[in-house]
Structures are given as C-alpha cells and as structure tokens.
C-alpha cells in the first residue's frame, strides 16, 4: 500500500474527531479526542513509507472501532451529564 498523503492523514484525523463528538459520555468523548490528537502528534515525525502506512492503517482501524463504539454506547447513554458539561446544557 502506498503511503497516504498529508491531506489523507489530516482527513483521517478530522474523521476521528468528528466521530469522537458522537459519544454521549463526556469522559469518552474527551478521551477519544485527546487520544486521536496524541496519536497524530506521536507519529508526526515518521518519515519512511512503510511505517507511515502502518500508522495510517492503524488509525483507520481505530476509526472503525470508534464509530462502532459510539453507536453501541448511544444505546446505554448516561442518564446524568458530567459536571464538566453542566454549563453547556442551559
């Protein structure tokens, strides 16, 4: 597999952040955002194509996991909002 371009990588990050928004639980939502950004920062200096490709494939797999889990967790949404988002609800 050819190494992904810069815009493909950024687009993967965007998809991860968009999926993160869908989690009902504040903690999981913020964790997913943080984890996506930390993962991209951790790998920002990768230069050889095979490791870039494998990091990209890993991110794609994580995106699928996040999408599936946001759907599953939406069935078990917390009844009470986190204190951290209390100011946003009104």
């Amino acid at each position: 597999m050819a190494a992904p371009t810069r815009s493909e990588a950024l687009s993967l990050l965007r998809s991860l952040l968009r999926t993160a928004r869908h989690f009902c639980d504040y903690n999981i939502r913020e964790y997913t955002k943080r984890r996506a950004l930390d993962g991209f920062r951790h790998n920002r200096n990768l230069s050889d194509p095979p490791s870039i490709s494998s990091a990209y494939a890993d991110g794609k797999a994580q995106l699928e996991v996040a999408k599936r889990q946001s759907a599953v967790y939406s069935l078990y949404a917390p009844k009470v909002k986190s204190i951290m988002e209390a100011h946003r609800t009104n």
């Binding site: 810069r6 815009s7 950024l10 990050l13 965007r14 952040l17 928004r21 920002r44």
Partner: protein, 126 residues
Amino acid sequence: MALRAAVLRHLRVPVQFFALARRECQPPLCSGGSLRLFSSHDDHLTKDEVIERVLSVIRCHPKVDPSKVSPDVHFQKDLGLDSLDTVEIVMALEEEFKLEIPDKEADKIDSCDLAIEYVYNHPMAS
C-alpha cells in the same frame, strides 16, 4: 324530518361564520410582510460578531498566546501552530458555529481572516 332540517340549519350558520372569520384574521403569508418563512438570512451573523467569536475560539486553544491573536494572523507563520493544531481549531470553529466544513474547504483555512471569511459567507452559520 322537520327536526333534522332545523338542526342542519342551525349547524350550518356558525360553520360558515367561522370559515369567513378565520380567512379574514389570517395574515397574508407571501405578500411582502416582515414574516419570511424558510428564510435563513434574516438572522444572519454580523461581521463583527463572526470576528469576535472566531478570535475567542482561537484564543481558547492551549498552544496560542492570546495576546498575539488578531483578525489577520496566520496560524502557522504567526502563531507557531502546526497542521494538527490547525485541524483542531477548524473543528472547534465547526462546533462553535454549528457547521460542517468539508475536508477540501477545511484544508484551505490556514489563517484567521480566511476562517472569518468562510464562516461569514456560510449560510448556515449560527
């Protein structure tokens, strides 16, 4: 039979009366009144409001020095951000203005004035 006719006569009068009365009370919907249904442009954001909110989103980013933020800064040249921070800021703008910015457009937004321009010209920004 006589009873039925009497009842019908009594029923019909008020119904006609209501129908007429209702037609007179309704405001004309499409004839130049101030009420414009399905129009999203009446509550469009003003330029100043857009600038203020865009700047406050950028100031809230942890890596940005709030004193350096002005309407014409470039994210990477002036604020020292990288492309990942730029993605983060554009996503924060999406949330602030309740937009969905497609990847192609989001790639182009790399400075404050481009962001302001994009949000201001977006019909759904709120």
